[in-house]
Assembly symmetry: none
Homo-oligomer: 251 residues x 2
Amino acid sequence: MAQLQRLAIAPTQIHQQQITLTPQQHHYLSRVLRLRQGDRFIAIDGKGNWLLANLAGTSAEILEQLSIETELPVTVTLMVALPKGNGFDEIVRCCTELGVAVIMPVMSDRTLLNPSPQKLERWRRIATEAAEQSERQIVPTILDPLAFSAGLSFCQEQLHEELVKNHQYICVTRRDCVNLLECLQLKVDGNSDYSQSIVIATGCEGGWTDAEVESAIAHNFQPVSLGHRILRAVTAPIVAMSLIAAATEKI
Amino acid sequence: MAQLQRLAIAPTQIHQQQITLTPQQHHYLSRVLRLRQGDRFIAIDGKGNWLLANLAGTSAEILEQLSIETELPVTVTLMVALPKGNGFDEIVRCCTELGVAVIMPVMSDRTLLNPSPQKLERWRRIATEAAEQSERQIVPTILDPLAFSAGLSFCQEQLHEELVKNHQYICVTRRDCVNLLECLQLKVDGNSDYSQSIVIATGCEGGWTDAEVESAIAHNFQPVSLGHRILRAVTAPIVAMSLIAAATEKI
């Protein structure tokens, strides 16, 4: 099974036991991966389903649904203030490997970048590739970039709307805060209902402004530390995801 | 001060203002780190004391006790099988931010890269820049690349020689191993004498061969997991350092 190639598909491509392939997907399977008629591959629908399929003409036939357990037991939303340059590429790649479910790029007071639609396409392509490489069952969702304040409201709406319990953290430097790991483990020990959802926010170069931290706190975010050193904007979300994955995942 | 190398010692090696060095420690300082008479280094006694010292004959003289705020309470040696391309740059940068003390680049069975002396210079420059940016108090030591088997022997010599307690881990995939975080915390809870030293080994693309893992186990390395997904060679050491920093650091 580990030898089979994987292909990310949309749930809407599935009709009964058939997968309708796009011309690009068919090209990828037959030309890039050099699969022949009847060869098997794994189709991942981004909703937690892994489907063993074989190539049949310009579509594919579903053989069986596979049971794969590489997803975290919590849904993690990563709210990242966009760093400068191409730093966000690395964040998307590494955090996808570490199990993030949703990445929300936000523009904070100190964000310099205003990303183009091409950037967004690129990030989604990186997420798809990283999900396949790391054997994820789900390709993370990358939301359209939005203002930090809108991001906070978005989380609050979800919090109210759903019966989902949100744990919301904002990573800060130079404050005497509890370490994120300790925080996560207090929650786990105190109440093993890690039910549902974790939101974690990390800043760009220069960090969050005081006003941003205060606003996050007003939206039920808890300030946490990622250690005694100053991390780059690219490193912080990777560290946060490392801690969340290890603290929540069963052995 | 930021340029100084560090050496783990046992408190029993301290007599008034002198540190009695073992032959191995003297060899390490003078041959491996190439310090000369009168050159300064930092001696760490595993009890939270950092001592500025200088090499004097076959012992060392204590100059002053340092106040340390951004260094980890353990000495972490990262043994990394060299990844392809420029991946090692990112490993050096991020792991320096996360508090690594020594980086040991090793050539494993699946390593493709044979680094030039220019590469080594480049990595040391990156480490210096990252140490300053992250407000570290020391610059990590980057050793000359060596074979994986030589790296294992190097660690074993240190283990036997010193009164220092080594915790040695090798990160593996596709095995039912305990997660590194759980492992670290068992050690901390069971015996808070985290005294001294952690060695952690991560593989290159394709991972370690079975023979390499068996050899590491024979050298007292414990196989550990970094989670259920397959991490890239660049991501794994960053995740490992994130967990070590968070698990060992006081708030």
